[in-house]
């Protein structure tokens, strides 16, 4: 299951809408081992394409160095599909190289880039195998167990979509 802060969830959707019809991409880093996506890093799609995304190689190196320095993992790796469903393509599966990450796909097809709901789905992609997982959007991580870190900037802790 992916547990993600609402502000970050919404920022990913905003990014996808902004870059439509090109695919948008980025990561959400979090403290190593925490499985908690905390730091949203929108990336430039160097391919600038409606059907392909790729981080610029220099940006990629800087990002990984930064995560190393901060002792972070790429907890979420996300991108958008702008004319197809929010499901990993063959290309996505072939190129997935972070077995520990939640691969988030959002779809801005059918006018979703302008209004209406945007599909936001999450997957594990390990050794070519795709498994979809539940997404739980929370208002801050304060009440979410299982991490030693206490760094949520969000105060509101009610109105969580699901519990237990």
């Amino acid at each position: 299951m992916l547990i993600i802060d609402r502000a970050i969830h919404d920022a990913i959707i905003d990014h996808a809408r902004r870059d439509h019809p090109d695919e948008a991409c980025g990561v959400v880093a979090g403290p190593a081992g925490s499985d908690r996506p905390e730091r949203h890093v929108p990336m430039l799609n160097a391919a600038m394409s409606p059907t392909f995304y790729e981080f610029d190689s220099g940006d990629l190196l800087r990002l990984y160095r930064e995560m190393d320095d901060n002792d972070e993992d790429p907890v979420v790796v996300y991108h958008s599909h702008t004319a197809t469903e929010a499901y990993p393509s063959r290309t996505d599966v072939d190129l997935a190289s972070e077995p520990g990450a939640h691969y988030v796909l959002v779809s801005t097809r059918d006018g979703a880039h302008e209004s209406g709901p945007v599909d936001f789905r999450s997957y594990r992609i390990v050794d070519g195998e795709v498994s979809e997982e539940e997404v739980r959007v929370v208002d801050g991580y304060a009440d979410v167990p299982s991490s030693p870190h206490e760094s949520s900037p969000h105060e509101s802790s009610t109105d969580q979509r699901a519990t237990s």
Binding site: M43, A47, T51, F52, H79, H81, S89, P99
Partner: protein, 101 residues
């Protein structure tokens, strides 16, 4: 001559989980051979048809070797080599997404 090589998560199965290993070589091509001797299987994940794989990035002291001579890029004692798989994908089938460099 010692070169530090940073290994990405996906290739750590070849290095017994190590995030960085020490290796040697006067060029990246030689370094890849040294890595292969110590960590069999790793070369095939990095190199294809005599060049670095399209979706693998290799940096020598922060320079992507695509811009410095590819596998023939020269190395010196104390250099740092970073290997990172591309973060890429998309709705296109991969053949169609390829473009000339």
């Amino acid at each position: 001559m010692a070169i530090e090589v940073r290994i990405p998560t996906i290739l750590r199965t070849y290095t017994g989980g190590e995030r960085a290993v020490e290796s040697s070589g006067d060029t990246v091509a030689e370094l890849v051979e040294s890595l292969e001797s110590a960590h069999p299987g790793i070369k095939e994940r990095m190199v294809e048809d005599g060049a670095v794989r399209r979706f693998v990035n290799v940096y020598v002291n922060d320079e992507d070797i695509r811009f410095t001579g590819g596998l023939e890029t020269e190395l010196s004692d104390g250099d740092t080599v970073v290997i990172l798989p591309a973060v890429a994908g998309g709705s296109a089938v991969r053949g169609a997404a390829r473009r000339p460099a």
